[in-house]
Every structure is written in structure tokens, then in C-alpha cells.
Symmetry: C2
């Protein structure tokens, strides 16, 4: 009963579902050969103005549109790019998708969207992309299985990892300097007088988590601070609040928490406040990403801004270069970003 369907049939006379018109049909009407029609639509200049006019008129009459599959069969250009995303529900990646789409569609490319749950994209998930002859594949927040990577390389398909990095795959990548960022965050927290530290990670085998933890720990080690609790998470709100509850029941003294990303941080803040503690008075929280929500007054989260647009621009640039030029070596671009100070951290001095 909860969700009743209400069907209303609309009487609709469909126009006779005719076969799609082809360049041949246009040619017949315009009184030219198929070749000439093709030349017009391929942007070839060697067509007399008179015939071009005629052809365009005929095409308009039929609402003719060239068949992209037939075209790509012969040009070997599909103008399609696969984008494989994990975590599309994370606002950071919604934004990533939007920006990638805007940039690439401006260049005439089309995106085949693939959502994956896997930390490591399997070959089966991309064989469809191979069958469609995409010219490139963008992978966000995930890695490729080595067989998938090999397959892509075999087919000569450009690959760019976004926000992940691994030496083994030998593919291009764009990401933030997570190591340096974490060092800077740790330094900031130490200098604000914090004594007892916690880090809530993403999946422990991701480069982002590894680098962020490494940088964070290194600074504490330098200062001979040993009071660091590491709590596992998986880059979701729920894992953040779970981790925070866990921390609070086990260790009452923690005075600052560095979260693997913003969405974790929001979960952490909500859980801490629910337990009756205040932020930043009792506990300081720092995130990573600077998603839009982090500046909402309910959170006002101090966080690390990843230069999203520049990162995407850079990834697109790498991708197009790999597509256009024959033997581009894979490149890695690391960006800095910067700390955004808000109200989730307080000095403890």
C-alpha cells in the first residue's frame, strides 16, 4: 500500500517509426553523390558552395544526423571517454563528475559513466569500454587491477588516475600532495597546543590514506609525540561517526581528530556533538577536500582544500595529450592545495 502505482495511458499516435535517413538519402535529394554529403558533414572544405547549400537543405529537411558508429568505424575516433567512479554519493566526486563533464564535452568528448563499488576496478568492469573503443578512461578514487590495466594498455587506451596514485600501474595520475598536506595539518594542530591525536583513515591500502597518515605521523614523531590513535574508516559519513564513537568510548582524552576526508569529518562532528561534547571547545576536527558542506555554519570545518578545478583541468590535459600524441610517457601531476581555516579547531594553549 505504501507506494501505489497510478497508471494513466496517454493516447499518443507515434509518427511512423521510419528508418533513420542516411547520407545516401540526403545525396539523392540534393542530387549529389554520397561522398560529397559525407565531405560536408566531415567538415571537408573541398565542396563548392552551391552543393553545400543544397546538401544542408536536404539534410535539414530529413533531420539527417550522421551515424557516429559508422563514422568511428572508419575514422578510429570514437570521441568517447569512460569515467569510472567510486563513491559518486560523496559530494566531492559529484563535483568531480560535473567538472569533468563540462570540460570534456566542451572538447567534443562524451562520457560513458561507470559506477564501481570496488577499490580496484576489475577487467570485467571495463571490457565494455574496450568494446566501445573509448579513447581514454578516467578513474576516480580507485585503482585498476593489473589485468585491467594491462588490457587497457594493450588496446592503446589512455588512462588517467584521479586522486589516486600507484607506481605499479605506470599510468598517468593527478592528485594532491597528500603527504605534505598532512604534514602541514599536523604542524598546525601541534602548534595550536593539542596533545592527544587521532586519525580516521580511509581504506588502509589507498594511496591517499597512506600518504596522509605518513605525513601526519612524521610530524608527530619529529616532535616526540606518541599519543596518536588510528581508527579505520572508509571515507563515508557513517564510518566517521562510528569511528568517533569508538574513539570516545575508548579514549576520553583525545583533543583533536584529523579525518581522512570531509564527509568523515561531518560524521565525526555529529557523533561528538551527539555525545554532549562541543567542537572546537572539547575536540578539534580537521577534514580534507573542502567540499561545499564543510563551510555550512552547522559545521564550519577547518579542512584542506584540494584545488578541484585545476586538478580536473590537469587530468583533462594529460588525457588529451595521451590521446592525440602517439607515444606520450605517462605523467604524474601532484598539486598542493591549502589549509582553509574555519571554526572546528581551537587553540589549547
Amino acid at each position: 500500500m505504501k507506494n501505489d502505482y497510478v497508471f494513466m495511458a496517454i493516447d499518443q499516435t507515434k509518427p511512423d517509426a521510419r528508418k533513420n535517413y542516411t547520407s545516401e538519402d540526403v545525396a539523392a535529394i540534393a542530387g549529389v553523390s554520397q561522398s560529397t554529403v559525407s565531405r560536408v558533414f566531415a567538415g571537408n572544405t573541398n565542396v563548392s558552395e552551391k552543393k553545400r547549400k543544397k546538401i544542408l537543405a536536404a539534410a535539414a529537411k530529413l533531420d539527417y544526423k550522421p551515424n557516429a558508429h559508422a563514422r568511428s568505424l572508419i575514422t578510429r575516433k570514437t570521441m568517447m571517454i569512460g569515467i569510472v567512479m567510486r563513491n559518486i554519493r560523496n559530494p566531492f566526486y559529484s563535483a568531480v563528475l560535473e567538472i569533468f563533464h563540462n570540460r570534456l564535452s566542451a572538447k567534443g568528448y562524451h562520457l560513458i559513466f561507470i559506477n564501481s563499488e570496488n577499490e580496484e576496478i576489475q577487467e570485467s568492469e571495463i571490457t565494455k569500454l574496450l568494446e566501445y573503443n573509448v579513447e581514454g578512461v578516467i578513474i576516480t578514487d580507485a585503482l585498476l587491477s593489473s589485468s585491467a590495466s594491462k588490457s587497457l594498455r594493450r588496446y592503446g587506451i589512455a588512462v588517467v588516475l584521479f586522486n589516486r596514485y600507484t607506481e605499479e600501474l605506470e599510468s598517468s595520475a593527478v592528485f594532491c600532495d597528500n603527504y605534505m598536506a598532512a604534514k602541514q595539518i599536523a604542524t598546525y594542530l601541534v602548534e595550536m597546543g593539542h596533545k592527544s591525536f587521532a586519525f580516521i583513515s580511509g581504506p588502509s591500502d589507498t594511496s591517499t590514506t597512506i600518504d596522509r597518515l605518513k605525513g601526519f605521523k612524521e610530524v608527530l614523531d619529529e616532535r616526540k609525540i606518541t599519543d596518536l590513535t588510528i581508527e579505520p574508516g572508509n571515507y563515508t559519513y557513517e564510518s566517521g561517526s562510528r569511528a568517533a564513537r569508538e574513539l570516545m568510548t575508548r579514549n576520553k582524552d583525545i583533543d583533536c581528530i584529523f579525518c581522512g576526508n570531509d564527509i568523515i569529518a561531518l560524521g565525526v562532528m555529529d557523533a561528538i556533538r551527539t555525545s554532549g561534547l562541543r567542537i572546537p571547545e572539547d575536540v578539534s576536527v580537521v577534514g580534507f577536500d573542502n567540499i561545499r558542506m564543510s563551510e555550512w555554519p552547522s559545521y564550519s570545518l577547518t579542512t584542506w582544500e584540494q584545488p578541484l578545478e585545476e586538478m580536473v583541468d590537469s587530468a583533462v590535459e594529460l588525457m588529451l595529450k595521451e590521446i592525440d600524441e602517439e607515444d606520450t610517457p605517462s605523467q604524474v601531476v601532484m598539486m598542493k592545495g591549502h589549509l582553509v581555516l574555519r571554526n572546528s579547531v581551537r587553540s589549547r594553549r
Copy 2:
């Protein structure tokens, strides 16, 4: 200086970028004809087990994958569906995208993702989809221009509107019964003793906004309540907080706000709290959608749940039916959903 690039060239010897193997190559190795190879990969049963084995072995050796474009050229099935979305940054629609992908990819379809800023999708935005011969187009949170709609119909492409509806376009649609939902919400607020009402709308020409406002107003009219302020918004957080500030400077007495969607409601709540008022003690707030954030303790928003999964399932069902069957009349499915009570509304009795 802010975002320095750090380039590291990785020396990488690409395997000789060879031409893709074709069914002909596989046939040569397996010692059969191209036709037989094709039969194996098209799932045709009339192939002897012996040759099938040989062919699969040869294909595996070459890492052969059939060319989807050549295939679709002849079968007239592309297994591609276009999904045109507005507002992908709204968590509601991120979820929509994820679910559509999961359902459709399970059925073997691939999504071409298109992001649009427009309330009304223009023909130019979908000509690419036509060129690629997508078998269907899903439009979320937007409508089609009449020429775009005509073009799709001309090409015999299935169209399903998601969360929007218009009689003019004569296309299938799936959406919530916004009118009834709004009536129920209004009734609830009235019965909780509220006296001074506000509605923050989406774009004023969208069916969702029109229906929600209509239902809401109708209930107030029935009860002879005239104290209703309508504030324009555009289904974003910012428009929500702006509208709330506007309301509060103009009208101090408002004791409840019905928001066009959840993301508006979050903006409203933050703005109200920032001004020093409390929710629900001073003002009640109701949203629409039941996105995940609405249950976060910082908000705990009372809202209308749209049965997301069922809606997508239904849209997929309509789409597949239109694709498979020749002359399906367009259908409209309206779902109910239900009110989710949380802590953003208080009784004023």
C-alpha cells in the same frame, strides 16, 4: 605559487600500439570462417563444441573483443542510454544516478552521461545522443524543449522523464504525487497548530514546484488560512538560506516553513539558527526528498520521502518496455512516498 605543478616523467616502454584484432584474425588462428567466430560471440548456439573451444582459445590469445560499433551498425542495437541530468551536485540526484547506473548496467546497458544547466534541455544538447543512436534517454529534474522532444520522437528513441512531468511532451514520466504529498504536509503542519506559513519554491515553472505549492495552498485555503508567504528559490542550499534570511527580515511571525526540497531546507535551517532562532522551538521546517543528510543529527529534518529505488525501478521498466516493444504508448507513473517525522517540527498548541 598556490598550486605548483610537480611533473615526474616515468620512463615507460609502451607495447607496440598494434591494431585491434578482429574476428577475422581470430578466425585465421582458429582455422574457421569469420562468420563462425561472429556466431560464437553473438551467442548463437549453432556452433559445434569443438570449434567453439578453438575459437575461444584463439580469442583469448589475442585478447579479442568484438567491436561494439560494427556490431550496433548491423544489429541496430547500441545498448546505450543517455542520461541527462541537472543538479548532479544535489545529493538526491547523485543517488538517482547511482541507482540508474546499477539497474541499467545489470541489464547490459551503458550510460552516456550529460550534465545540463538548463531547465529545458535544448536540441543541441542531445544531438550527440542521436548521432550515437542511443536507444533511450532519461531526463532528470528537467524538461525537453519541444524541438528536442520532436527530434527524439522522430528517431524513435524512448524517453522517460524522471521527477518531472508535462502533458505537452507526451513522453513517459515517473514522479511523486507532489500534490498529495504537499497536502499531507500542510495538513500535518496545520494540525500541529502552526499559524503563519511560508513556502520556499523551486523554479516557478517546474511541475514539482507547481504541484507542491498547489497542494499546500489548497489545504490552507480550505481551513481559511491566509497567512502564507511564498519565497522563490531554485533547489539549492544557497537559495534556501537566502530565502530564509529574506523571510526573517520581512516577517518575524512565521512559525513554519515548507521547503521545496531538502537541500533548500538545510540552507534554511542553517540561516535561521545563525540568526539566533531555534528549530523547532521557534520555527518548524519541513523538507522534501529525504536525502541522507536530512537524518544527520545536526538537522534531523522532517521531510517527505520519495521512494527513490522504486521510482528508478519503475523508470527503468518503462524505458525497457518502450525500447523492446514497438508501439508502447507513453505512460505516466505517479508514486506516493510518505512523511518521515524527525525533529524539525514542533507542536504549537
